[in-house]
């Protein structure tokens, strides 16, 4: 269920229709149920994972803060986890089960339920681990404060990273190990576990981890209300593709009563419409152009394309991924405003960046700030010798690349960005002032063009399936360029779809610039808003792509 599906909007309409008539507690409960329904649409089995993560971090956060949960509450949480594992992780055929119940068919009912002992291995493991953790808790609570805080934090981190590591990277490491063994002459039978990647696991895992870390650092207060904490973890507008919210930003909004702010409806509407435009019109229409180029190389037919075709394909992907990801974030913010929440801005005109550090202050801001605060700065940040700083930058960006996916091309993409960060630092780069004198503006222009293309090089690494494809595409780019029909039409389409979005964001300051619509005489405002709305609505109705594409960041 995506934002670009009518099913989602029908469900959202059902939620918002009653939301503002409910008390604060009931609002939270409604959002919690809606969030689980939203997430369960992807695959209901993975609700169990999000529940496990929620319970571990709930107990962990309170443990770090020195709050002991009563035995009764711990039993309830344990029961919740065990029952969830039974209902979500055993092969119950729900369709047949409900049908058997409706028809009072006893034998069909039994057939729809798991009957083998092996069907219950996950609940068995869950019972054991839950019992062990529950048994250890009194001992953990009794530890000296410093040790208790560290151990609860460690348990939370290890559990979250173990879940993330298993579901996201297990098969990747198995395949890489087999490839490495093969490279040194040792044969290993191809073996992977075929693990399905749960939607949004990287996002909610990082968010849950930030909760416990912030409590440890004293930057956030834990909540003792489990449903509130569960809502903080799984709040549906941003659950599967961010922005990654910090506890001190989102949790107070969950815990405290909310009111509908003046201007929230209009601002939310603009954000939603712009987000849908970016996804449905820009990203989905540019996807076939980008896919055509990259897939041609993946199929080994790269010789049919020219260097200019490759460039157009990379440009198309650059705006596809931006439209896709920033579109999702924009819709998430818009919906959240309608629910009385304020989500953090995730994109700030990233393609106007003039340096790598400027780019990472503008692109996927919630992730880059997460990596800065929880990895880069603890490693030492910009302090220490040059070698240490470069190490910190490379390590942070390497892990940032790995966060995106289980493929060596993502790692290389991350290292690439780390490398250009280091290079710019090495040469003592200072971002030029776009509003300075003529020389400064020309330097800004040159820096902007350079940084945009450095970013596009990174997108080539990011999007390509393999290093062979990367090498061939770079070879094509380095060869003489022939102007082909594909390049001319493709470039024209990239301009047609992406340029208005680019210009609008430059004019408004993207998500920062909603206040632009609040100033000036009302006829001017009406004309500006009306013209832009007319354009967006016209494009949304007339120019959706023939085929809707999955949000790129859902796979992360």
């Amino acid at each position: 269920m995506n934002y670009n599906s009518l099913t989602f909007w029908a469900l959202f309409a059902a939620v918002i229709a009653v939301y503002w008539f409910l008390s604060h507690r009931r609002q939270n409960l409604l959002l919690l149920v809606a969030s689980y329904v939203f997430y369960g649409f992807w695959d209901y089995r993975f609700l169990f994972l999000i529940l496990i993560s929620t319970v571990i971090d709930y107990i962990g956060g309170l443990g770090v803060a020195g709050v002991q949960l009563k035995r009764e509450k711990l039993w309830k949480l344990g029961l919740l986890i065990v029952l969830s594992s039974v209902f979500l992780c055993t092969p119950i055929h729900y369709r047949e089960l409900f049908s058997a119940i409706r028809e009072f068919d006893g034998s069909a009912l039994v057939e729809s339920l798991p009957t083998q002992a092996s069907d219950f291995w996950i609940p068995a493991v869950v019972v054991l681990l839950t019992a062990a953790y529950g048994a250890a808790l009194p001992w953990l609570y009794a530890l000296p404060e410093a040790r208790r805080r560290t151990i609860f934090l460690t348990i939370s981190m290890v559990a979250n990273l173990a879940i993330l590591g298993f579901f996201k990277y297990c098969d990747f490491f198995l395949e890489s190990t087999q490839a490495l063994l093969g490279a040194v002459g040792l044969t290993a039978s191809p073996f992977t576990l075929g693990i399905i990647l749960p939607a949004g696991i990287s996002f909610y895992t990082f968010q849950a981890m930030s909760y416990t870390i912030d409590i440890y650092r004293g930057e956030a207060e834990p909540t003792q209300d489990f449903p509130d904490f569960a809502l903080f973890v799984c709040f549906f507008p941003h659950l599967v593709a961010g922005p990654i919210m910090r506890a001190h930003t989102l949790l107070p909004q969950v815990v405290q009563p909310r009111s509908f702010q003046p201007g929230a409806f209009q601002q939310g509407l603009i954000l939603v419409l712009v987000g849908l435009f970016k996804k449905i019109v820009v990203a989905d229409n540019l996807a076939p152009i980008a896919n055509s180029v990259f897939q041609t190389y993946a199929n080994g037919d790269g010789h049919t394309l020219t260097g200019l075709d490759v460039l157009v394909g990379v440009y198309a992907f650059a705006f596809q991924i931006y439209g896709d990801f920033s579109g999702y974030s924009s819709v998430a913010r818009g919906i959240s405003k309608w629910l009385g929440y304020e989500l953090t801005i995730n994109f700030d005109n990233p393609y106007l960046a003039v340096s790598p550090s400027d780019f990472w202050r503008r692109w996927h801001i919630s992730l880059s700030s997460w990596l800065r605060d929880y990895l880069y700065i603890p490693l030492g940040g910009g302090r220490g010798s040059k070698a240490v700083v470069y190490r910190n930058l490379l390590l942070t960006m390497l892990l940032g690349g790995l966060w995106h996916g289980a493929n060596w091309t993502f790692v290389v993409w991350g290292l690439y960005h780390g490398a250009i960060l280091c290079i710019y630092r090495l040469v003592g780069w200072r971002d030029p002032d776009p509003n300075g004198n003529l020389g400064s503006r020309l330097r800004w222009l040159g820096a902007w063009v350079l940084m945009f293309h450095l970013t596009c090089v990174g997108w080539l690494l990011f999007r390509a399936d393999s290093f062979t494809v990367i090498a061939e595409m770079f070879q094509a780019l380095a060869s003489p360029w022939a102007v082909s029909r594909f390049a001319v039409s493709g470039a024209s389409l990239v301009g047609f779809y992406a340029l208005p979005m680019f210009v609008w964001e430059w004019w408004t300051g993207a998500e920062n610039g909603l206040s632009r619509y609040e100033v000036g005489p009302w006829p001017v405002r009406a004309a500006a808003v009306g013209a832009q709305l007319a354009y967006v609505l016209f494009m949304l109705v007339i120019f959706p792509a023939e085929q809707a594409h999955e949000f790129i960041y859902f796979q992360f």
Partner: protein, 339 residues
């Protein structure tokens, strides 16, 4: 002072909001009128779709042998009605009349409604309905141009059937309802294409190449995970044909054999067709057709169409002789001709 400022702010907001809403409504209305009164009459496709019920009625009122062809652009390029009529007249020694009821890129899920709207009403039945098909035209799940279906080929009575067979999810049903009420929404794909043809250099050729690449890439990736074919839409069509006493001939159209191996004829489809009493003619391997007779994998050139039409007459002609009817029919020629 501050309350009067906030009052004037509020008034300004209200005025802005009203101006925007009214302006958008006016633009939407203008666009809808432009689509209905200017774009629709200029679209050859839309003009002929709107004309199909009348052409069907005229066909059924003609004396002699009356044949309706249903299909897509392959039929448009492949069947020459004048040649067909001439050769059938010579063969059967009675006047013959043929009309094409076509929709580009369509399959049986669209043809069903075209025939239902144009023919399946009392006293309006052709003598023969010839359905040219290829690849997965007869299977469930074929692509459906919802806008076209909503505007031209369906009525309010078709809603339940559409929901059961053709509009499986909420999004498609919502799209259908929007297309039913808005000509602009229904025609948006065509408006988009028309605008892009004007704005983007060489867009037509570019789009063709891109679609071809996407098609090949999709084909390569889906052969590994092909779903088993089902034929509920075929069953539905045959049931309706039987109820309406329509004689049906299905013709497996020849695709370019140098480009790919002939598509399979699913045993399930064959069984359903023959069990219903309809006829199935396999012209997939029309030996006289070579790659020079094709514009692409499917569409024939003029020379290719002459060859195919001749082969079609040879294959179908004997079936169309007076006295030859599908086994389920008891209707006589005079019944189908009376108003």
């Amino acid at each position: 002072m501050s309350s009067s400022t906030s009052n004037s702010d509020r008034r300004a907001r209200v005025k802005t909001l009203l101006a925007v809403v009214l302006g958008l409504a006016a633009l939407a209305g203008g666009l809808e009128m432009t689509t209905r009164w200017m774009l629709y009459p200029r679209s050859q496709d839309f003009v002929r779709f709107a004309d199909y019920p009348q052409r069907a009625a005229e066909l059924c009122n003609k004396p002699g042998l009356r044949i309706a062809f249903v299909g897509n652009s392959a039929t448009q390029c492949g069947v020459k009605p004048e040649q067909l009529v001439r050769q059938l007249t010579d063969l059967n020694h009675q006047p013959a009349h043929a009309e094409l009821f076509l929709a580009d890129g369509s399959s049986l899920n669209t043809w069903h409604y075209m025939v239902k709207q144009s023919f399946w009403r009392p006293h309006q039945n052709p003598d023969w309905l010839v359905v040219n098909f290829f690849n997965e035209n007869l299977q469930d799940g074929a692509a459906l141009e919802i806008g076209r279906l909503a505007q031209f080929f369906t009525g309010p009575d078709d809603w339940d059937e559409l929901c059961e067979f053709d509009l499986p999810d909420f999004s498609k049903r919502a799209e259908f309802v929007a297309s039913r009420h808005s000509a602009t929404f229904a025609a948006r794909d065509r408006i988009k294409a028309r605008l892009l043809f004007e704005i983007i250099p060489e867009y037509r050729e570019f789009a063709g190449e891109l679609n071809q690449k996407q098609f090949q890439q999709t084909k390569a990736s889906t052969t590994k995970e092909a779903r088993p074919a089902t034929h509920r839409v075929l069953e539905r069509f045959l049931d309706c044909a039987k109820r309406n006493r329509t004689n049906v001939i299905f013709v497996a159209f020849p695709t370019q054999r140098e480009a790919s191996t002939p598509y399979p004829l699913h045993a399930d489809a064959e069984r359903l067709i023959r069990a219903s009493g309809a006829h199935l003619i396999d012209l997939r391997r029309t030996s006289e057709l070579h790659k020079d007779h094709y514009l692409d994998e499917i569409h024939l050139t003029d020379a290719g169409a002459q060859i195919y039409t001749r082969r079609l007459v040879q294959a179908v002609g004997p079936l169309l002789l007076p006295g030859t009817r599908s086994t389920h029919l008891a209707a006589t020629t005079s019944d189908t001709k009376s108003p």
